[in-house]
């Protein structure tokens, strides 16, 4: 049976499930049924994608007589789609499993259940679409379903604002993509479109002129970049992702941003033809800035889910650095280097979807058991939720790019690709790439600091509120989802060769070369170019760490002492019983805010110190500005408001005035037509 038919059938089943959910939401166990069914369908889709990618099957195409009359909808499954199907449906399966337990706590299931399968179907259909119409319809379907999920708890005014910003940005992005497809479909010079021109196959065959191609790339960066969270179009993301229920947050961060990356890769690497070298300049610069800005913003947050959402922005930046390098190498006809960079980017797509979903699951578990998202009100959860804490720790280590987990492998490959770039013959890239490399290193170091904070303040220390003292361990299903992903983080970290090899058909189809086969190398190392140049063996590093830690522990316990005595904390002799004396998320980040906050946020602290003898309390006020919001969005909002208040007058004209306006418009249009050459 063809995998494409299986995948489309699964998507149809998800849509049907979505209708069934309207009825199921009323019954008490309806949620369990819907999530279990979504989990089952998701795993079937996952198997379908894996079957196509790992079996190295040829691309399949299918036209269905739905959608536009006489044209129909076209679908195609190739290696690139299959890879992203795996990423999305791996997340979907785990999120549905998590949802079986998590969904019980939902106050208003009728606002979540019907949209959840629809959201999954939307994401899957985007990946399979083979013409602009089906692509955009699925894309909008995905956006609207996720918007409905963001608005599930709409009584909270923050959520309403998040939903509003999201829908505006999503529409804006969709328009950009629509225009990009329009340009791609027009053969040079003609403005009459045959119906088939909107087919991806036709776009691929039809080379755009350099100027037009540049415009398409810019529109794609706006359209796909705004969905992925590329700076400065990321502003909706940290508002909308945390507002949704946690398993949906995990999907939005882990899977939906990847669908946007897919759109970018599909257009920039596949449909648009050979790249111009300066495209990579733009993509690399955006990627580097996004990575550092994302993590700096994340460091300043004390809402756990918002912190994770800002990290998604950072990781999207890292992915785009890999993609930008691949574009550069492809433009200068260095296919093996391009293969390395693209593999690094795509591997990070996979890795990020795994550990970010895991972290959102953990944050959701903490949220349901304490009712708190604010880290300043948590603390000490490791004692009450040991299993959740353990998996969250694994996710934190993985996202901080520390060995032996998976986040390190993809960043390591990106660094190896950066080290190949001095061979690029362009001065702009020669100057930009080392800077991007430094930004990547900076963002990795900041991410580690940020996750020391996220894990340390939430799970370690002493409980800061009563709610945090009453936390209980998450349910079985949620724990199963979290442990599955924690295991996957380790497997992808110690056996990266498996994943690199699986990516080979995707990479070959896009840049015409692949990385050397990794699984045949001695000791299961990964060697991107040559062993004398660089190699890394996650398995051995993991074994060495385990061995030397156990050796050290065994030796000391055996030869020296293994006695333990519990005593009050020492704290330099002045322990203070109040949990308020602990470091908080804000105080933890204070040194970093002092170092980086000045230029990133225009941050300043105002200290109000009363004179000696004055009895009023001393106060410190920290002022931080979201510079992106203030310099780009507020002026746009102001301009739109100004224009709309001016144009509002048009609503109150008399019939004669309306008629004259219509006449004037007609005359103006005729004049334009007459003057057109």
């Amino acid at each position: 049976m063809s995998a494409l038919v299986l995948l489309l059938g699964g998507d149809a089943a998800l849509l049907a499930l979505s209708l069934a959910a309207i009825a199921a939401a009323r019954s008490r166990n309806g949620g369990v049924f819907i999530y279990a069914a979504a989990c089952a369908i998701g795993s079937v889709l996952l198997v379908g994608g894996a079957y196509h990618l790992l079996g190295r099957h040829a691309p399949e195409e299918l036209a269905l007589p739905i959608g536009l009359p006489w044209i129909g909808a076209h679908f195609r499954l190739d290696a690139l789609s299959a890879f992203f199907v795996i990423v999305v449906d791996l997340g979907a399966t785990a999120a549905s499993l998590y949802g079986i337990g998590y969904g019980r706590h939902e106050r208003d299931p009728a606002r979540v259940l019907p949209f959840y399968p629809a959201f999954l179907a939307g994401m899957n259909l985007v990946l399979l679409a083979n013409d602009a119409y089906s692509f955009l319809v699925s894309w909008e379907f995905m956006s609207l379903a996720s918007w409905a999920l963001v608005m599930a708890h709409h009584r909270d005014s923050d959520n309403r604002r998040a939903g509003y910003v999201y829908i505006v940005m999503a529409s804006f992005g969709a328009i950009a993509l629509l225009l990009a497809f329009g340009l791609l479909a027009s053969p040079a010079g003609t403005y009459v479109f045959p119906a088939e021109a909107y087919n991806f196959g036709a776009m691929r065959a039809n080379a755009a002129t350099p100027g037009l191609a540049g415009l398409v790339l810019a529109l794609t960066l706006v359209g796909a970049g705004s969905k992925a969270g590329l700076a400065p179009l990321h502003v909706w993301l940290p508002l909308a992702h945390p507002a949704a229920p946690s398993h949906v947050s995990a999907l939005m961060s882990g899977a939906m941003t990847k669908v946007a990356v897919y759109a970018f890769v599909r257009i920039a690497f596949d449909l648009l033809g050979p790249p111009a070298w300066w495209w990579s300049l733009v993509v690399l610069a955006l990627g580097g800035i996004t990575a550092v800005m994302g993590v700096l913003y994340a460091l300043m947050q004390h809402d756990l889910k918002r912190l994770l959402a800002y990290h998604t922005v950072e990781n999207i930046g890292i992915i785009f650095i890999g993609l930008g390098l691949a574009l550069a190498f492809k433009a200068f006809d260095m296919p093996s280097a391009a293969a390395l960079a693209l593999t690094a980017g795509l591997l990070h797509v996979f890795n990020h979807s795994v550990f970010k979903s895991l972290l959102f699951f953990g944050a959701g578990a903490a949220l349901t058991s304490t009712g708190e998202r604010d880290m300043e009100h948590l603390g000490g959860l490791i004692r009450l939720m040991p299993l959740t804490a353990f998996t969250f720790l694994v996710g934190s280590v993985a996202i901080s790019a520390l060995p032996p987990f998976n986040g390190f492998v993809s960043e390591w490959l990106t660094f190896q690709a950066i080290l190949l770039s001095p061979q690029l013959p362009s001065w702009g890239l020669k100057l930009l790439v080392p800077a991007v490399g430094a930004l990547l290193a900076l963002s990795a170091a900041l991410a580690a600091a940020c996750f020391v904070k996220a894990f340390g303040i939430t799970f370690l220390g002493r409980a800061r509120t009563e709610a945090a003292k009453r936390a209980t361990e998450a349910d079985r299903f949620s724990l199963a989802a979290m442990f599955a992903f924690a295991t996957l983080c380790l497997i992808a970290g110690v056996l990266p060769g498996l994943f690199i090899d699986a990516l080979a058909p995707v990479v070959r189809s896009l840049v015409g070369a692949r990385m050397p086969v990794q699984m045949g190398i001695d000791w299961l190392s990964i060697v991107p170019i040559a062993e004398s140049r660089s190699s890394y063996n996650g398995l051995l590093v993991f074994l060495f760490i385990v061995a030397s830690a156990s050796l050290g522990a065994a030796a000391i316990h055996r030869l020296a002492s293994d006695a333990v005595r519990r005593a009050p904390a020492w704290d330099c002799g002045f322990p203070e019983p109040s949990p308020a004396t602990q470091y908080t998320a804000t105080s933890f980040a204070e040194p970093i805010r002092r170092v980086f906050g000045g230029f990133a946020f225009g941050a300043r602290a105002e200290v109000d110190m009363p004179a000696p003898g004055d009895m009023r309390p001393a106060r410190i006020k920290v002022v931080m500005n979201d510079l992106v919001w203030e310099t780009i969005y507020l002026p746009v909002v102001a301009a739109v408001t100004y224009l709309s208040t001016r144009l509002n007058r048009l609503q109150f004209l008399t019939i004669r005035q309306y008629l004259s306006v219509v006449l004037a418009a007609l005359v103006a249009l005729l004049l334009v037509l007459a003057a057109w050459p």
């Binding site: 430094a438 020391v452 890394y536 933890f588």
Partner: protein, 320 residues
């Protein structure tokens, strides 16, 4: 087969050598600093005795400390030890030298720091938080500085594999280069900061508001403290070995060298460690500790130097 066995023996020797020499190096630095201050100072072997004594004592663990607090010391030691064992000390091309390159070694040290900072936060005291927070701040500058230094070394030697870099530096192919000078200065700054030496932090202090490393491990006692102390001694040895193997690779036994060469390499290595330890002691006694918020400038200088060096290399590749 015998080849493999011999190589395995040398790899194990390297692991034991680094962990065995680390306390001696710390003892040497302490002794030298004391002599420079006209004090008698503790005997050279005092760190060994301290460690043994600490390991024999019972561990006092704060009430409410979690399992992470008790596991973290071993993770920190293991990550540091593995990183130290992968640096060519007396010979390049040891059996497992390819299992992690320089970037991975830096990341291993990052993992050690990650767990140490978490352990500082675990008990929920203000000193622990203070140490962890400042350590995290230093790391955000020191780590990228290390990575850009790696860029320079990797571009010069054509590899991020430390064995290959060291072998290249030992060969005559490398001349005197501006970039190398920049990388050396940057690396020394990072090493000082990472090991909490003066002028960044004072390793001999307790109960001082500016302490960083000591504040993080304030709650540790007994064997846990011994393990952490050993890990920080190893880290000092690691950084010195790294500087020595890249910038002073004389006497290093290049891959496939005979047993005699390797033994000679070991002797030379011990001498080099001694010289570097004395230089560190002299430097530390001749400079004052700086305020905490001056450290970012200090580390920022390292980052900029490393970055300029890498940039020069990226650009000069076309000129050849």
């Amino acid at each position: 087969m015998t080849d493999l066995a011999v190589n395995l023996v040398f790899q194990l020797l390297q692991m034991l050598l680094v962990v065995g020499l680390a306390p001696l190096l710390t003892g040497l630095v302490r002794k030298a600093k004391a002599r420079l201050l006209r004090r008698e100072g503790p005997p050279l072997l005092q760190p060994y005795r301290d460690l043994a004594r600490l390991a024999r004592k019972e561990a006092v663990v704060a009430e409410g400390a979690s399992w992470l607090f008790r596991v973290a010391p071993y993770v920190v030691l293991a990550a540091t030890w593995v990183a130290a064992a992968l640096i060519p000390t007396f010979a390049t091309g040891l059996l497992f030298s390819w299992s992690a390159d320089l970037i991975a070694i830096i990341a291993l040290l990052g993992a050690a720091r990650f767990f140490l900072a978490l352990a500082g936060l675990d008990v929920g005291t203000s000193f622990g938080g203070l140490g962890a927070s400042r350590e995290a701040m230093f790391a955000t500058l020191a780590e990228p500085a290390m990575i850009v230094i790696v860029f320079s070394l990797a571009l010069i030697a054509g590899s991020t594999q430390l064995s290959t870099v060291a072998a290249f530096m030992a060969s005559s192919a490398v001349g005197l280069r501006v970039t190398l000078g920049m990388a050396l200065i940057a690396l020394i700054i990072v090493a000082l900061a990472e090991n909490g030496r003066i002028p960044v932090d004072n390793p001999a202090t307790h109960l001082e508001l500016t302490m960083v490393h000591e504040a993080m491990i304030l709650e540790y006692s007994g064997r846990h403290l011994a393990v952490i102390e050993l890990a920080s001694m190893l880290k000092l040895l690691l950084y010195i070995s790294l500087i020595v193997c890249v910038f002073a690779p004389w006497g290093l036994a290049i891959a496939d060298a005979g047993v005699g060469d390797r033994l000679f390499g070991a002797v030379v290595y011990v001498v080099k460690l001694g010289v570097a330890g004395l230089m560190l002691a002299t430097f530390e006694t001749s400079i004052a500790k700086m305020r905490v918020f001056r450290v970012p400038d200090f580390l920022g200088a390292a980052l900029m130097l490393g970055f300029l060096g890498a940039l020069l290399l990226f650009v000069s590749r076309t000129l050849k």
